[in-house]
């Protein structure tokens, strides 16, 4: 096996910082979505639960993809 990686550690640290920033943004969006959905649910509005759950799932899949990319650049 060749010990050389595609990116140096310095480069990977920068990529990781960018990814963490994006993931934090998405997680904050999910938090807002959860509080808004809970507020709507407690207020008797049950119609938003399905689209909100779908949007949150998409956010999670996006985060999962970014995490996979972090592991991929380590190879």
């Amino acid at each position: 096996m060749n010990g050389q990686r595609r990116f140096s550690r310095e480069q990977r640290l920068r990529i990781l910082a960018a990814i963490i920033s994006i993931v934090i943004l998405i997680v904050v969006l999910q938090l807002w979505l959860l509080t808004a959905t809970m507020n709507a649910y407690l207020g008797g509005d049950r119609g938003v639960a399905l689209p909100a759950a779908a949007a949150s799932l998409v956010c999670f899949l996006l985060n999962l993809g970014l995490l996979r990319y972090v592991y991929r650049i380590e190879r």
Binding site: R5, R9, L13, V23, L33, G44, A49, N63
Partner: protein
């Protein structure tokens, strides 16, 4: 002989490159820069786990929305209108025991009723008719007496409104409307 990664500052005891080391050695590196990198990677993993927890929360709300049953309301007599003076109030339980509501006579022709539980943390609210509001003593929240809408403090949702009907001088509770604004 493979070329060694220039980022690897220390050589493991067996001399093999980091990629061929056991998992525990890769997750707990000796080199400070690599340790910083691993810490950030683990932090991103924790964030993704938090993201998953939010999805679980959303699915829980969705399941409650789909499977939860709405109560079937039946009409219940609450009070005779002539027994309730203008500016006075009466507590009653509707649609069942343990669900306190407040009936308030605002004027000669206006009677309103709301859930007595604060929409913040379910503390009982108290009507202050002279100030035109319901007051929650737990966190100093207040709601408008006529509409049940939040005026101050932590509550953000209005008090659920009890639907009323006047039949032969008797006020009947016929339903409860939950609201978001």
């Amino acid at each position: 002989m493979s070329a060694r990664d220039p980022d690897e500052l220390t050589i493991p005891p067996d001399g093999r490159p980091t990629a061929q080391q056991p998992r525990w050695r890769r997750d707990f590196p000796i080199d400070v820069p690599q340790d910083q990198y691993v810490a950030r990677r683990e932090f991103s993993k924790f964030l993704v786990l938090t993201s998953f927890a939010f999805v679980v929360g959303q699915i829980w709300i969705l399941a409650k929305s789909l499977l939860g049953r709405r109560p079937a309301f039946t009409g219940t007599p609450v009070a005779r209108i002539d027994e309730l003076a203008v500016g006075s109030f009466r507590q009653f339980e509707y649609p069942g025991p343990g669900e306190p509501k407040l009936l308030v006579r605002l004027s000669e022709h206006e009677v309103v009723a709301f859930d007595q539980r604060c929409t913040h943390l379910s503390c009982p609210v108290h009507p202050q008719v002279e100030r035109g509001l319901f007051h929650c003593p737990c966190h100093k929240g207040s709601f408008d007496l006529a509409t049940g809408r939040p005026l101050s403090g932590p509550p953000r949702r209005p008090l659920p409104r009890v639907d009323l009907e006047l039949r032969d001088g008797v006020v009947w509770a016929v339903g409860v409307t939950e609201r978001t604004s």
